[in-house]
């Protein structure tokens, strides 16, 4: 009589993914909604607002923005004008949450209130002299500095990083296409690393190069962290860690994504869904997917409980997944 009970117990073994300090149980159905009413195409990015709500950006123009509570309950939706909705950054300005939406199809970045009123539009950076036409500019992500300066990464276009002041005047352009340290192949994501408050820097992903690159705020290359086999989308700072959705791994095959968690020195400490991170002589061994939990993670949002929300690109129009830290 003991055997069946053992088997029954066995079938309730929760999946735990990740390594070392960052391990998670997973709720695959956290954000599932009725797709007849609230459809998604690609779930591109997610952020948490000041009220603790979880905001998802999708390129479905029936509802570009879907707002959940932390339990996955739908609160509201808005947005029908963002066919290429890709990058979503939240910034608090004069005590108010504002959003910066990078739109691949509109070739511009739109700043809105938290409920979707347009405040400002950053057109294609003609003044940079780098762009013969608007279509060559395909912004993927933004980062907003303490002083209100706005950085825009042209990750699907010419690979430049545009630096504006808060008024939208172009101050500087750096980066561009190439394999050298200061250049990019798919400058997909950007954030401001405030972990050293006295010396903020920019962290920018070079996704095809499997590298996270650090620059000064005025665009000088400082250093690169190599993450071989990890096609990292955008860096997200939370506490002393950097979290990065990793859309492909290994040789870059379809459906091989996982999540990367870096420590204070930008070393990989945990790879939920991926191989155990091992450093040999300071070099990370080539990373690959080990469990088919994710298809193509495109962004990770870390909430105030240290739990994660994962939005996925090209993954059968599925809704976000939640990871509970254990």
């Amino acid at each position: 009589m003991g055997m069946p009970i053992l088997n029954a117990m066995n079938s309730y073994k929760d999946l735990i993914i990740g390594h070392n300090s960052h391990q998670y149980k997973i709720d695959m159905n956290w954000g599932a909604l009725n797709s007849k009413f609230y459809p998604v195409n690609d779930c591109h990015e997610m952020v948490q607002d000041s009220k603790g709500r979880i905001i998802l950006l999708t390129n479905h123009t029936k509802n570009n923005v879907i707002i959940y509570d932390k339990s996955g309950k739908l609160i509201e939706v808005w947005g029908t004008d963002y066919p290429g909705a890709h990058g979503l950054t939240l910034n608090v300005e004069n005590g108010e949450d504002v959003l910066y939406i990078s739109d691949n199809s509109r070739h511009e970045v739109i700043k809105t209130t938290i409920d979707g009123k347009v405040i400002q539009v950053f057109n294609y950076p003609k003044a940079s002299g780098k762009y013969a036409s608007k279509e060559l500019y395909i912004p993927t992500e933004t980062a907003i500095a303490e002083n209100g300066d706005v950085y825009i990464a042209d990750g699907y276009g010419e690979q430049y990083i545009m630096h504006y002041n808060a008024k939208g005047e172009l101050l500087n352009t750096f980066g561009g296409k190439g394999d050298e340290d200061e250049l990019f192949n798919n400058a997909h994501g950007i954030c401001i690393d405030t972990r050293n408050p006295s010396n903020p820097t920019l962290l920018i992903t070079a996704r095809q190069q499997n590298k996270l690159k650090r620059f000064t705020m005025d665009g000088k290359f400082i250093e690169s962290s190599d993450l071989p086999g990890a096609y990292i989308c955008r860096p997200v700072i939370h506490g002393t860690n950097v979290y990065l959705a990793t859309i492909w791994s290994g040789d870059g095959d379809e459906g091989t994504g996982f999540i990367s968690v870096l420590d204070k020195d930008n070393m990989l400490v945990s790879a939920p869904g991926g191989s155990v991170p091992i450093y040999t002589d300071g070099k990370l061994e080539h990373m690959h997917q080990t469990l088919k939990v994710f298809n193509h993670p495109h962004d990770v949002c870390v909430d105030d409980d240290d739990n994660l929300y994962v939005a996925q690109w090209n993954s059968g129009k599925t809704y976000p997944i939640k990871l509970f830290r254990v």
């Binding site: 073994k13 999946l15 149980k25 290994g250 155990v276 997917q289 080990t290 469990l291 939640k322």
Partner: protein
Amino acid sequence: MRYIAVFLSVATFVSCNLEKPSFGEADNFQLAVPGLKVDSVLFKNSSKVTMNFGHPNSEIRYTIDGKEVGTDSPIYNGPLTLDHSATIKAKAFHSDFKSSEQAMIQVTQIANNIANASIELSPEPHENYKGLGATGLIDMQKGGLQFRSGKQWLGFQDSSVTITLDLLSEMPLSLIKVSSLQNQGGWIFAPKKITVYSKSRQIGEITLDDAAKKQEYQLKIISVPLVAGNYSKLKIVVNTLNEIPEWHQGKGTLPWLFLDEILVE
């Protein structure tokens, strides 16, 4: 009866806690395909096979005889050295998870290694797909289906490509093989005709009648029989279709030609 009670209590617990997340169970998840690499898909003496899978307490099982991998197949515990052509298959296993899909790779023993020959190309490959240049065609390294990654593929946007091969000394030959890629969705078509000359005399020719037909994405090795003889210098002329056929969205334009290796036997 006892385990029915367990189910009932779990069901009650879940229904009373709608806010509580339902966690994914381990045995609903499948392992990813293990890494399977060879140092050379084409080899003269031997090929080294390595496998890896970075999940603790899992194992990789494999076969080298083309059979499906099962729970009784040998466990991988270090690199294998193969001295014959083989099909290697591998799968990852772990007691908590569904076993992985099967990884597969073929290795082929070749008759002659001509890596030391001198080779010239006319015209040069396209700027975007230069690979390793002409010598990449005789380096015994094959490209994969992912023609954009790696350095093995040479891409041409020309209707005729001439490869001049100097084997440095005479070799008895009766066959050459031209390895090409067919990816019609990517506007890459197999060659239409390959002609081989030695000292201005034609010694072999093959026409591919199906080059313009709709065909699947594949690596295509084209064999060109030669008039048997001793040869040291060969001129290989690869001709593409004049234009992409009617049924294709790129109709009327010149197709791409992708080559990665020339073999002689």
